[in-house]
Symmetry: D2
Subunit: 230 residues, 4 copies
């Protein structure tokens, strides 16, 4: 059962890397967000992420921030517009289709240079790594994330960020396929698509792909490992 | 809303391809299955898939069957054993961990030459294409699926098979990232992981990635297009 | 023969994109270069590239500059150091192994923030695109080059830059595999590895992969096409 | 210099894998070849490969044969026909364009089921691995070669086969980019494109990418390592 798998998990800080998924103002800062997470979730996620990242850096665990940033292409608009589902959403002018109850825009989301592309300031620290050319849902797709993880000696990837059931889940799938151990940090993820899909995203990882940990569980496992191998 | 997106979908048979995901005996034939779908789901899926595939071939829509087949590696076992989550499952001898209520095996699943690697006979027809080197959850990962879809001129990929929330969903994510339009055929998918993850897998596609169609809806859209462009 | 293939080539400016390969100061500016091209070649290439790029922009042909930029990884050094051949070169302290007659460094090449990572100023213009996370020899490897080319509607990729027989040739191979038409702009490429490998790099493209054009031939083909389709 | 790099190379048989590139009858058996190597080169390569592979298997070094095999696509022909350079060759009916002095065919090359797709019988042994869905020049492109190499624990990839300056060189580039150590077995490669491009291919690897070894040098290095670590 999940409990036995969970208990058996040992996290070696020297082979673990945190990947933050789309934790930038375009999702998490209501003052500029183009695809806004529910503000309550945003506050929860930012607070939990800040606590987890501060702890991780103290254990010398590397942090990679992955950001989705779009160029404008003459005649096309945002680079996101070649995706047929997103284009269909845009053309139907469904302003709250992806974010029930809150306006959002597909075509103006995360355009290079916009304030939405800034990482949430309290989550970034000097020494963190940044990958800023994510173009779709998967943090590995079209980026050097795999190469950077291997350069860092990572065998376990711990994911936090937005959205539990799309970008986080897709990145979890690809990390799984690449034979990484996959951890999702449950306190530090949320979904703008709705609470049910947030819960699915976590269940899908816990029952099929990897390990879902709270901040307390993550800290506990790192501390137990450090006690064995100072 | 989903309804408007759904109504606006037009399917051109000349640019549509069906991809069957892991529809082989290792999942769907209880007499040999190493990771068995619930038998009731298996019967439903096979019947619906057979009906849909017969219709699709009549409309000259290509069919690609993707199979997961593992070599044995001396000293390692199945090629699946380098995946840490699967190895952990294997080592905990959790024989029903992935398939609640039914025994399953990770290390003996779909070994090359085993009867489980045969496509369900009633779903295969001469002229269908086969990709038989899938090794993980994503049908595109390590295969020539992308190249074959482009050779077939596909812009829309219609997925059926096993499992709704892992291989089908992962393949849907990658097709999305590659800018295909994504359709999941709801009558023709199931999940051995549980009914809740099956339902949520479909919701994830319908609300975030693409279009979920019943067999009747698929046939209707193809017929309407054919009426316009004989 | 090459002549017939060559004569039959038609270049549609609306489906053609220029990709500049590693045309930054780390290769081409002797005052800061960490892997210097022969200064005579550098002058030739910069002059020819400037002329070709000015012409291309006048025909509304997009330009993508791809740069190799390395992070420093604590405990490892440059991200390039996980490549065993480069590491072996570094450890043997072969300061002119890759660049006969001129000192070079593997471990200090193109570190993020260094002047070597600047695109040669006269080759850049506002409106050009930049990909700055190339980590190995192939411009497509770990970058979004493929997605950007498709967003631009490119079916023909025209390569210029450094080095004819490694980064340019590797990128030509991958463009070929992805079913792009491949053009190498002979006046605008050079190799720091030696003149023989430069010549043979061009022969390899012309006889096996695509088309090798001088600046004059490129301009001629674009002009002929424009005359037919204003 | 090459000599120092060469002397410093140590080959651990437990982390070394041989990859044979397109060593099937379509290239190497004049009685059925659709893109024939020069017969003298074919005899040389087959004899040297047989000797090297027998030695390698005796040292428990895994062997992976990679074959290029094309499906026929209705309306298109061979899957190779979406490559614009190959299509242009085919349309110009340049029957000896790629293979000076010998007739060849692009559209009928290595069609699934044809005798040309058989591995040269004396090079295959029970226990060898086979990858049979190569579609372009790079053995990694669209195949599970990377996953299989990692499952085998390989850190060094030794290439033999056809053609030195295209498929072997392209595969060498990708192996390099993936941070494998790259060895090309000079006695066991040849190029149908011409002797000068064969020489280039070897020079390009030796001076820029990896190590070029004769059969004797390969045997010597494996034997020396075995003497140190029985």
């Amino acid at each position: 059962m999940i409990d036995r798998l969970h208990a058996a998990l040992s996290l070696n800080p020297r082979q673990t890397t945190i990947v933050t998924v789309d934790m930038h103002r375009g999702h998490l800062d209501p003052s500029v967000a183009t695809m806004a997470t529910d503000p309550h979730d945003a506050r929860r996620v930012i607070a939990a992420a800040r606590e987890l990242l501060d702890f991780a850096r103290g254990a010398s665990i590397p942090v990679i921030h992955v950001k989705l940033v779009y160029r404008r292409i003459p005649g096309l608009g945002s680079e996101g517009m070649t995706q047929p589902f997103w284009r269909a959403m845009h053309e139907l002018a469904e302003s709250d289709r992806l974010t029930p109850g809150r306006p959002s825009t597909v075509d103006e989301h995360n355009i290079v240079g916009s304030p939405g592309t800034e990482i949430i300031p309290e989550l970034y620290a000097q020494g963190d790594f940044v990958i800023d050319n994510k173009k779709r849902l998967d943090c590995f797709f079209g980026t050097d994330l795999d190469q950077l993880l291997r350069a860092l000696g990572a065998t376990t990837v711990c994911l936090m960020g937005i959205n539990t059931n799309t970008c986080v889940l897709n990145t979890a799938f690809t990390a799984f396929n690449l034979d990484f151990r996959v951890v999702v940090l449950a306190d530090c993820v949320a979904s703008m698509y709705g609470e049910d899909l947030h819960v699915l995203g976590l269940q899908n990882v816990a029952r099929c792909l990897g390990w879902v940990l709270s901040n307390a569980e993550f800290r506990g496992k790192i501390a137990r490992r450090a006690a064995r191998e100072p």
